[in-house]
Structures are given as structure tokens and as C-alpha cells.
Point group: C2
Chain length 272, copies 2
């Protein structure tokens, strides 16, 4: 089982920390430490890290791809291009394998099943770069936007910001995951998804440090003022993100990638 | 006595909150409330707010100018231009008055004496836009860089970030205030300034809300995890910024503006 996630967003929004947090939050439960903590070079190239994790008794090769400082130049026109190209390259690889006469029984799947887009916690609205990048990204991949470093917002600021972002997405016709049009759902699933859609963008916090809270050692970010518990849903929505991506919607994210995004790519490639 | 400060930086970095914080921190001490709390429209134009405050028994008309969301476009080439133009317009106004035959006894001084530049708390390094903007700004005005919303960094992250910024400034030959070359100082003043220079960029936090801490009502930002006390120097460096700008270096900021920046402008204008 392969599952491929990509993290996209400006430098310093905690993407690399989040990559490690996701692995630590899944891996440490099975008392099997990640081989190495992935260090943040000032990424200038697209870098992936993979680990085998266990989810519901199923072993899964989770690969998370970190993208370079995005939107960090004076002129950021088309800064999303390298990311779109990487995503399409994976479709291309898959397509070549698929149409090959001597193709392997099981085609290695490096297609990006889910792109987590990090929004800076400005408290105002989406930036112009975010809007342009998201418009392009949702055309080729499942995108789940998150509010990065959400511990820098009060709960009131967070809620107001979230609503503003949802408005910005609607105004710009940006359909993030889950896009109800792509799903074949029963009534209960629809309700769950509507609830999820109202929560997106998830307000996340990342940390690989453990701290003692009460009698438990938990993943947390310790600041001068207190301890932000990463896996405590009354502190932030990391758990919602993690469970949606790796548990409840994993299968669906793969299916939509294969049946919607990849099919679109294949269609356009084979026509030309 | 007129003193003019400008705040510059990206949207959502807490500039408008800082404007109010500075006034509240000065004005409330004299039990004289600001007439109105300056509201953050999504500023699309340069806006000023003035209050008369008392400092060391001297009444001072403090004017703070808030600049529009800076660097918020996809392409931010020359986004500093409107700000540079505003600064030069004030020199132009002063010059016209100064060279006028029928000039007023006391020339109204709208020149920007100090520009506070807000750096996003990414934890990495200066962004390309910051470097380009700072290079241009220090040529025309006294610039004091600050780390915005510094409560989103741990003390370790803050110190590492500060040192990296100081390195970036040095590497790019960006001389922020206080620029020792511009000052005529005795030994004690030199030592104080060296200490200040090592602390810049100040790690600030802004808030206009008051909260009870112990038995005192203090300006603070209340989050889910604790109370960030704005005027507590073990929490952030707002006090250092405020005291430097409004107390210890006020006179010097005005003198350097008049004798260095304005003179340079005047020289270039009268030659052409
Ligand atoms: N306040 C806050 N800081 C964070 C969080 N996650 C990471 N950081 C800090 O933000 C800085 C940049 O994080 P990093 O993961 O390198 O960001 P990247 O450039 O997006 O990969 C580091 O100092 C991190 O410790 C978070 O959830 N909240
Ligand atoms: N974490 C944190 N948030 C702040 C701080 N100052 C302001 N904010 C919040 O950041 C958001 C944007 O602030 P604002 O003053 O409008 O920023 P501006 O666009 O630069 O003028 C608001 O939700 C503020 O409450 C601060 O020092 N720390």
C-alpha cells in the first residue's frame, strides 16, 4: 500500500515540522522510531521521506514530499509551476508504465494523493499568491488547506480567519478536497463530509518534542506561556487532519486521484 | 513637538494592533483615553493617526502612519515604491516651506522620523522582499526592524532567528538605526547603542486588551495557553522598542532625519 502526500506553502510555515509530526504521531504509537528526523535544509529542491506505518492493522508506505520555499521571491509569478510539474511528472510516469506492453503487474504509484496547503496565520484573508496557487493546484490534485502555526491565533481570531478563508475559496471557485462532486456517497457519508468541509482549513500545530502533561508524555510545543498539545483537539486540529488523511479518507483520496485527476491527465495526454 | 513614526510590513503582521498598543501604552498612563481605537480597514491607502502624549513632562504630538498591505501581491517588484514616495513627499513639503520667502516661523514637520519594519516570524531568515525593501528604505529614513507577533516563537527560536536576521542585514550591507556613523556619541552612549544594536530586531507583541495579572491590569494578549504581557520585558521586547523610539532616542531620531536624510534629499533636489 502506497500513500503519497505533499506539503506546500511559504518558508517558515512549519511544513517540515509537520512532516515529522505526522510520522511521529503515527509511528511512535507502534514504538518504532522513525529512522532519522528529517532535517529542514532550506529546501531548494523537492524532497521526499517515506516510512512504513501501520494503520488499522494495515502496513502502509507513507511518503511525504516537502516542497521548496514557495512564494518567497520578490516576484512570485508562477511559483506554483515546479509543483504542478512534479505532480504531472508522477502522472506521466504512471501513464508510461500503464500503457507499456511489458508493464509490471503492480505499477509503482508515486502519484500525489493529497496536497496539504499551508496558509500563513495572518488573521486577515488569503494572500494573492495563495489564491493563484490554489486555483492551479486543485485542477491537478486533491488539496487540503490548513492554517499553519495556528497557535499564534486566539480561538476567536482563528474562527474569524477560517470563515474568511472559506469565503475567499468560494468567491474564487476553488474546490478543495473533499469536492462533493467527485464523491459517490450515502447520506451518512455526506453528513460527515459536510462537517469536515466546515472545519477546513484545519488549524494545525506541529511539534516533534514530547512533554509531560499530567502523567502522560505527549507531542507538544512548549512555549514560555504554556504547552500546546498537538494531539489535543481542544488545542488545535492536527488530529482532524491526520485522521482524515491517513484513516477515514485515505482510500477515497487515492480513488479520486486515480479516477478523476489522473484520468483527466491521461485523457489530455492521449488526445494530443 | 511633533514626532512621526511609520509602520511598514506585510498584511496581518500586527501593525495596526501595534499602532494602538503604542498609543494605549503611553496614553493610558495619563488616564486619558485615545479618542478612538484606530480600526484596521484592510488598508489600501496610507493612513495616519495622531495623539498628543506626554513624555517626561513634555507634550508630544505623536503621529503614526500605517501603510497598506505591503508585499501582498503575486509580483511584489517595487512594492516599496509608494512608501518611499510618501517619505520623499514629506521632505518635499518641508523643503518647499523652508525655501519659501514667506515661510512660517515654525515649519510643520511631517517628515518620517522613524520607520518600524515588521518581519514575519518565520523562524528562518529575511525574505527576498524584506531585503530589497530594507535596502531601499534605509537610504531615505531611519529604519528599526522588529520581529512581528514574536509570541509565535519560543525563546530559542527567537534568538536564533534574531541572529540570522542580523547576519542577513550585515551580508546585505543594510544599516538600520542606530547607524553609528550618523551619531556623535560619548563613550557611555556608544555602549548603550551597541547593546541596543545587538537587541535589534526587537521581538514584539501587540495588544490593546487589558487583563488581570496578579493584582494589576496589564496590556496583554490572552490566548488559550496563557497571557502574553506586552509590557513585561521577560515576555517580549515591546518596552525596548517603545522606550527607544519615544524616550531615549526620540531627539536623535529627529536629528538624524533632519541632518542626514533630509539634507541628502535637499542636496539632490537643489542640485537638479
Ligand atoms: N508557533 C509555531 N511555530 C512552529 C510550528 N511548527 C513549526 N514551528 C516553528 O517554525 C519554524 C519554521 O518551521 P519549519 O518546519 O522549518 O517550516 P518550513 O520552512 O515550512 O518547513 C521553526 O522555528 C519551527 O520550530 C507551529 O505549529 N507553531
Ligand atoms: N500572535 C499574535 N497575533 C497578533 C499580534 N498582534 C496582532 N495580532 C493579531 O494578528 C491579526 C492581524 O493584526 P493586524 O494588527 O490587523 O495586522 P496588520 O494587517 O499588520 O495591521 C489580528 O488577528 C490580531 O489580533 C501579536 O503580537 N501576536
Amino acid at each position: 500500500f502506497e500513500f503519497n502526500v505533499m506539503v506546500v506553502g511559504g518558508a517558515g510555515l512549519g511544513k517540515s515540522t509537520m512532516v515529522n509530526t505526522i510520522f511521529k504521531s503515527k509511528v511512535s504509537r507502534r514504538s518504532c522510531q522513525p529512522d532519522e528526523e528529517y532535517n529542514t535544509p532550506k529546501t531548494v529542491e523537492i524532497k521526499s521521506i517515506s516510512h512504513v506505518i501501520e494503520e488499522k492493522g494495515i502496513r502502509l508506505k507513507l511518503t511525504i514530499t516537502d516542497t521548496p520555499g514557495f512564494g518567497d521571491h520578490v516576484n512570485n509569478s508562477n511559483c506554483w509551476q515546479p509543483i504542478i510539474r512534479y505532480i504531472n511528472d508522477q502522472y506521466e510516469k504512471y501513464l508510461n508504465e500503464e500503457i507499456s506492453i511489458r508493464r509490471r503487474k503492480r505499477i509503482p504509484d508515486t502519484r500525489v494523493h493529497c496536497c496539504i496547503y499551508f496558509i500563513a496565520p495572518s488573521g486577515h484573508s488569503l494572500k494573492a499568491v495563495d489564491i493563484e496557487a490554489l486555483k492551479k493546484l486543485v485542477q491537478v490534485v486533491n488539496v487540503i488547506p490548513v492554517i499553519a502555526k495556528s497557535d499564534s491565533l486566539t480561538l476567536e481570531e482563528r474562527q474569524a480567519f477560517k470563515e474568511r478563508i472559506q469565503q475567499d475559496l468560494a468567491d474564487n471557485h476553488i474546490r478543495v478536497y473533499p469536492d462533493m462532486d467527485n464523491l459517490d456517497l450515502d447520506e451518512e457519508e455526506i453528513n460527515n463530509n459536510v462537517e469536515l468541509m466546515n472545519r477546513i482549513p484545519f488549524a494545525v500545530v506541529g511539534s516533534t518534542a514530547s512533554h509531560l502533561v499530567g502523567s502522560k508524555n505527549v507531542l507538544a510545543r512548549k512555549t514560555r506561556w504554556g504547552i500546546v498539545e498537538v494531539e489535543n483537539s481542544s488545542h488545535c486540529e492536527f488530529i482532524h487532519l491526520r485522521d482524515m488523511v491517513i484513516r477515514t479518507h485515505l482510500q477515497d483520496l487515492k480513488e479520486v486521484t486515480a479516477q478523476v485527476h489522473y484520468e483527466l491527465y491521461r485523457h489530455e495526454r492521449l488526445e494530443t
